[in-house]
Amino acid sequence: MEDWRQIFYHAMNMFNVVIVSYFFMANGMYTILMLVSLGSVWLHNRRLTYQGLDELRESAVTPPATILVPAWNEQDVIVESVRSILRTDYPALEVIVIDDGSTDESMDRLIAAFRLVKMDLIYRPRLATKAVKGFYMNPRIPNLMVISKENGGKPDALNVGINMCRTPYFCTLDADCILERDALLRLMRPIVRSPENTVASGGIVRILNGCEVKDGKVISVKLPKTAVERFQVVEYLRSFLFGRTGWDLLGGTLIVSGAFAVFHRETVLETGGFLHDTVTEDMDLIVQIHRWAAHHQRKIKMVFTSDPVCWTECPAKVPMLGRQRRRWQMGLCQTLWKSSEMLFNSKYGVIGMVSFPFHLYVEAIGSVVEFLGYFMVPLALLFGMVPVPLAVLFIVLSLVYGSFLSVGSVLLEELTYRRYPGLRDLVILLVYAVLENIGYRQMVLLYRVQGVLRFITGFRSWEKVTHVGAG
């Protein structure tokens, strides 16, 4: 009995070490990212005053680009989305919509709206995909093509689009997203202006819920009404403004949101396109590109820019949020597991030595550590292993630190883009940034742990997140 007691005590002590190290590692790194981003985003915002978008728009040197829109059962939004995309301000733009075997009226509505006719075109698949059922075009809208294919998932749909794409760069865009008119131009700017070989460029995804939308355009930016949506606004600000910006500056970009990102087509083809073995094909592609570049000794660059904006609907209901977060966490685990050789591998530079370990320990395993902490700390208290005041102080510290980081992201938004116009909006955001760590964070943590468990148990299915309709 005494032996078991000793083992228990040792285990508890070890866990305490793990949770404290996790706390300091995660918050330390987040603080560094926040500080780095504060400077970087502010500076970027200043540099925008002489960005010269007109020159980019008018230059014959600006490379043509194709927007790939994978769609599955998007009948309610697809026509407006495509109309909005066709209005994108870009000199040489093509749009390919890939209907991934929808069972609703998506195809019929597209055919009717754009007067498309079915054509028997040549399909040259450089990436293996499910069968294509038909190509639809209107010779009067030559830059629009709709492809109907058998259902094979988002990566498969994107691969069909890449196979048919003719331009050197393509932009992936979710069918339910709204692109700001000049967003693609802004996304391409770092590619055009960079002296290095830039193969991926990501932009910021902002939350559409609550905003006023007219003719596929956000005409008034407002905060959503419900708490769960508002918490997500704060989360997105934190994730995009200081998470991705910070990693970009440190040269450790491991995630580019597939909802809105530009990729170099030939590079993606060489890496094998979007793969099917994870549920977050966007992150997986970024990791694949890093591995490919290291393997072939290619010097490449991936950038994240905070001014190109794409608006997306976030889940308005808690169950939908759960689905989304489980998938993201499961995909993160799958991708990191698949590419475990990158861990502490100096061949990958900052990615291998800092970014990958951080994502593995803090973002993937960390969720389980934090989750267990909510049980182990009370247990340790129960057995008198940790003094009560110290445990309480530690819990307070973790909550306060979380608030500090969230408030920091709101400040970052305030210092730069100020998309939410009223002072009231700012105050609401600050309140939600403080409150986020009490209740919401724990709820999301639960979903993340479920995602890890699904990864461990080999769960494969994709949970569709449905939206209530913005505007």
Binding site: R47, T49, K118, R193, P389, V400, F404, L430
Partner: protein
């Protein structure tokens, strides 16, 4: 005092208090910043309302220049220059507004200020000015001065301040790449002939010194925007030993030529716009260059040359070993003046590379009736499956099917009918059937039913079935019912 484990409470409490204070400070900063910005925007809006119409009237020449200028001179305050800059350059000026705006910026002292900034004559702002002006922090921190230099370079480019070109050329050597990039862009906007040379030098530097932090595309964009007569400045680059420099120089001239040609349908590169020396380099050297990229990019330029040697050279490039050289040559021939070369272009319909086949089909379509006859003739005659597929693809993409069907309906004997038959035999019936489903031309439907109604193609069968059951015209319905019977029997057998 050494930090001991006994001090853990104090340490954690200290961290908690620090973080709490930090959070509070961030909240106060955010709110204070918002309030400050709101008051700043109120001031700007107020100024905009007061002075915006004055500037607009001056630019549209509705208000006497001197009166408007004197009104604007009345703006004062620590941030006067910043506010004036905001008001004057708020909107991109149209070409006819640029001279007025340039004069206004000169008279208001903004040009002198920008020139000083660009040449690095920047003092460190006082703390009072730092806090009072939105740009104050930039003046205060020396490491941020590049933002002011870059903005100054940008402003001089917007108003196309020709006298500032030497300063901008000097800025090409600025330590910060942003300033270099903006200077390149502004030089392109000003288009001072004397600045073309330094830009070409930068192009060489970017290629020859990999440490240069300027984008090649930025320089290229700038050079392309110069008038074509500046192309002579690229002669040393066209004959340079470095293959990449030759390629870029050729490509820049190609872009310059194509930009000019886009405005003028009958554009020809004659001796007036394109010196003979340049033409000879293209016809005598570049089209035979060891670098295939150079050969490829030379083809479009050669196609515009008013020189008898150009067509034979293009035909040589049409047979080049590299597929992308052939591609560029085929595309270069897509001009009506090369109508007589249609048979040579048609030969490329069997090219091993699909992009060349596609380009050949498109070029033939540019030739009009002669080209489409060539295309149809080749489509019907060739045994090359890839070539047939490519032509079928192009016929559909170009939207030719409805016209072909219309002509097929009216003409007794014509190639359209045979092309339609070929499409049907290849199973390329989707477009054909969709036209048949929507057309009101009963003659076309009848003729197609009679000629092709018995084909076993599933889409045609579906359409015939539809006509046989749903058609309101009894004659057509009966015809469909007649043709479907043997087809069904044949299908069953």
């Amino acid at each position: 005092m050494p930090v001991l484990i006994e001090h853990i409470y104090e340490i954690v409490v200290a961290i908690v208090i620090t973080v709490l204070l930090g959070t509070g400070a961030l909240i106060i900063m955010a709110v204070a910043r918002r309030q400050r910005r709101e008051s700043y925007f109120r001031r700007i809006d107020d100024l905009r309302q007061r002075y915006g119409p004055v500037i607009a009237s001056m630019l549209s020449q509705k208000l006497e220049y001197e009166r408007g200028r004197d009104v604007l001179k009345g703006i004062s305050g620590v941030d006067r220059d910043y506010v004036l800059e905001q008001l004057c350059l708020e909107k991109k000026p149209t070409p006819d507004q640029v001279p007025i705006l340039r004069r206004l910026c000169e008279d208001l002292g903004l040009v002198r200020l920008w020139q000083q900034r660009l040449s690095g004559q920047l003092g460190i702002a006082s703390i009072r000015d730092t806090l009072a002006s939105p740009e104050g922090i930039l003046h205060r921190v020396g490491r941020l001065h590049f933002l002011l230099r870059a903005k100054a370079a940008d402003n001089l480019g917007i108003i196309q301040h020709r006298a500032s070109w030497p300063l901008l050329v000097k800025a090409l050597e600025d330590p910060h790449p942003d300033v270099q990039a903006v200077a390149v862009r502004s030089l392109a906007a000003i288009q001072e002939p004397a600045s073309f040379g330094p830009l070409v030098e930068r192009l060489h530097a970017v290629i020859l010194k990999p440490s240069t932090r300027l984008s090649l595309r930025s320089i290229k964009t700038a050079l392309i925007s110069f008038p074509l007569k500046q192309a002579v400045g690229l002669i040393p680059s066209l004959t340079h030993a470095h293959r990449r420099i030759r390629f870029l120089a050729t490509d820049i001239i190609r872009e310059m030529v194509e930009r000019q040609a886009a405005w003028d349908e009958d554009f020809v590169l004659d001796a007036q716009v394109f010196p003979a020396e340049l033409g000879n380099i293209f016809l005598g050297q570049l089209c035979f260059d060891e670098n295939p990229d150079v050969r490829a990019r030379s083809a479009p330029v050669i196609s515009f040359l008013a020189d008898p040697r150009s067509t034979p050279v293009l035909l040589t490039l049409l047979e080049d070993a590299q597929w992308f050289v052939r591609l560029h040559a085929v595309r270069a021939l897509a001009k009506r003046k090369f109508l007589s070369q249609a048979p040579q272009v048609a030969q490329r319909l069997t090219d091993p590379h699909w992009m060349v086949r596609e380009a050949a089909a498109r070029t033939l379509l540019v030739f009009g009736r002669v080209g489409s006859d060539q295309l149809a003739g080749h489509f019907l005659a060739t045994q090359d499956r890839y070539s047939q597929e490519q032509i079928a693809d192009e016929i559909q993409r170009a939207g030719l099917v409805p016209n072909m069907l219309a002509q097929y309906a009216t003409e007794a004997e014509g190639s359209e009918g045979k092309v339609i038959e070929q499409l049907v035999q290849m199973g390329k019936t989707s477009y054909v059937v969709s036209v048949l489903q929507t057309t009101s031309d009963q003659r076309l439907r009848r003729k197609f039913l009679m000629n092709f109604g018995r084909y076993l193609d599933p889409q045609i069968r579906g359409w015939v079935q539809q006509v046989a059951t749903e058609e309101t015209d009894p004659n057509l319905r009966t015809l469909a019912q007649t043709v479907i019977r043997p087809a069904t029997k044949q299908g069953e057998s």
